[in-house]
Symmetry: C2
Subunit: 363 residues, 2 copies
């Protein structure tokens, strides 16, 4: 333990000044085992403004090119929030430069691209993790305890997940997430990523056997998905459905139904409040004698979350990077989970393209 | 108004001593405009025991045959909780005997059967209503206000509804709802009825254009559905999904997502508590500047429900019966809604039987 406390913090370089990088750079500052060492943009002015606006430490370096940052020997790890179409190119360079990689989701335009990224990380011995924050929330561990409890929850049977938000006219016209050459998976890659991850999470990351897109997805003129859904099926009869959209009000629901219990929450990606997060547990609830009310009533469990989920993510990633620096192998769990998520997105897209036919998942 | 207060209460006869009849007979007792006049079972002993166990008034008549009750000129209205396969036979006799009809759901084994019932009611000038209680809850009217609010909710875009409960070994072997010759629609007709009704309700009872069953329904050995789901599609891109099951923990969710708001509740069929019922309203919620929490947080609206929903149902039905006795025509809204619900159930079943193909709804 003494050795661990002596490990210096992991030095992060940030490549690209996307909106989401504001939150993650704050998280890097707040994590006890990480520091911001540099930021790069194709425009040095933009990088400089970003560093100022986000109160980067004065010693943080400002680069006018991604390459320059990647050549900096002081950088341990890179946070990469670039548009998805640029992931494979830059992620491979990051890995080749022996930098560990924390990358925004969706991780790639398709699984083949992601495999190139994962291979580069593996060959260069660097840690990979995607930027799905909610799985690092303390609440998520508490929800996992419930789902794993054979007495309170039993076996998972069905699940529904939903993430939608109403993009305004500007978003629907100009955001990178509606552009085929930038984030070509649209709402499926952005909002759907979270739904699919939540379904995998609840299923202990067991891939479904079959995926079927729901009829009636909404595409924009360029063919990018603005709204869609799918059902996922496992051999033992387990079922999951999800719905993701840029066209309807902000909603982020999980309902996971087991043989003995049900989990509900309405803020699984971004918790309602900063300092606490809740979920609803229904365990073997039934009705009173005349079936006019429930016995017992489902209960709300609240978890104190002094450390924001994005800080938990950076802390965990940095811990793993520290382990690698101390001689451990990179943790393979994270790229495996990213790949499974991407694989399901690909399959949903294929099912849409083929006319909503069931597609078997080959893992 | 003076005339109305002088209208004598509607006299109910109950045909069949199903469990659900306990709750409805209590509701008839509690409704200000209804009284229990008689109960009939094929066994007079069973009818007598039922009357005693449910504290029927001493003047309530006990009949050992359905026909005898239906010949009683004092009876205005009949509550019919028989197995679905018997509905068409007895409902037609009820109507021919000029009794108004409050009937349990599902209303029939299929729409053709229901059309026979509806026609008999129409030809005999009697009021029809099905026994879906939750639509009469005071909360439901409050939720309707929210869904109708173009500023707070906007236009409905997507909806998910779920009703499941875990039938025990005895239920799954012996309950009438798993028997092909009694309630042949199984979980679809029982639990799915509520999901479909909630979807129609949220869509102002506009039928979808297309219905597609989800893959992977679970059937028992006799071919009765124990678990299934479907997606429903409207021409303007609106989407609804539902899941119903006898095989997973008690869950009854509605999520209705509009362009500006979202409605959530977890007890739409049977409210958690007797005296109050709640729902969650999210209207134009979004995130704080750094996207770490919501602004504002969705709010819970609680409605005081001193009158149980089943009493509201009996009261409304009796009010309509009173109107008919005073010369009005029967309210056609209720059989129309029942028919639409049944039509969608039929269509889901057909989609399952045809291999999960989309089926167009012909209204």
């Amino acid at each position: 333990m003494a050795a661990e406390t002596q490990t210096p913090p992991i030095c992060f370089g940030i490549i690209g000044c996307a909106d989401i990088a504001r939150k993650v750079s704050r998280a890097i500052s707040l994590a006890p085992n990480a520091v911001i060492s540099a930021v790069a943009s194709r425009s040095i002015e933009k990088a400089s403004l970003f560093a100022k606006a986000n109160k980067f430490p004065p010693e943080a370096k400002i680069y006018g090119s991604y390459e320059a940052l990647l050549d900096d020997p002081d950088i341990d790890a890179v946070y990469l929030p670039l548009p998805t179409s640029l992931h494979v190119k830059w992620a491979v360079v990051v890995a080749q430069k022996k930098k560990h990689l924390l990358m925004e989701k969706p991780v790639a335009l398709n699984v083949s691209e992601f495999d190139v990224i994962a291979k580069a990380c593996e060959e260069n011995g660097v840690q990979f993790m995607d930027g799905t924050m909610w799985v690092h929330n303390l609440r998520t561990a508490k929800m996992r305890e419930f789902l794993s409890d054979s007495e309170r929850f039993g076996q998972l049977r069905a699940m529904h997940s939903c993430f939608s938000f109403a993009g305004d006219a500007d978003f629907l016209k100009n955001d990178i997430r509606v552009k085929p050459d930038l984030d070509g998976l649209g709402a499926l890659g952005d909002a759907g990523w979270y739904c699919v991850r939540s379904i995998l999470w609840a299923n202990d990351y067991e891939l479904p056997k079959t995926v079927v897109a729901l009829h009636g997805p909404v595409l924009n003129e360029a063919g990018v998905v603005l709204s869609c859904g799918a059902s996922l099926h496992w051999d033992d009869g387990r079922l999951a459905t999800f719905f993701c959209s840029f066209l309807s009000n902000l909603t982020m629901d999980i309902t996971a139904i087991g043989t003995k219990g049900t989990l509900n929450l309405h803020d699984f990606i971004i918790p309602f409040q900063d300092k606490e997060a809740s979920f609803i547990v229904n365990s073997k609830c039934f009705f009173n004698e005349l079936v006019t009310s429930w016995v017992p009533i489902p209960s709300e469990h609240t978890v104190t979350t002094d450390i924001p989920q994005e800080v938990c993510m950076v802390r965990e990633f940095s811990r793993l990077v520290g382990d690698v620096k101390n001689g451990s192998k990179p943790e393979s769990k994270w790229p495996i989970i990213s790949r499974k998520t991407q694989l399901i997105l690909d399959t949903v897209k294929m099912s849409i393209e083929k006319g909503f036919v069931p597609i078997e998942i080959k893992s």
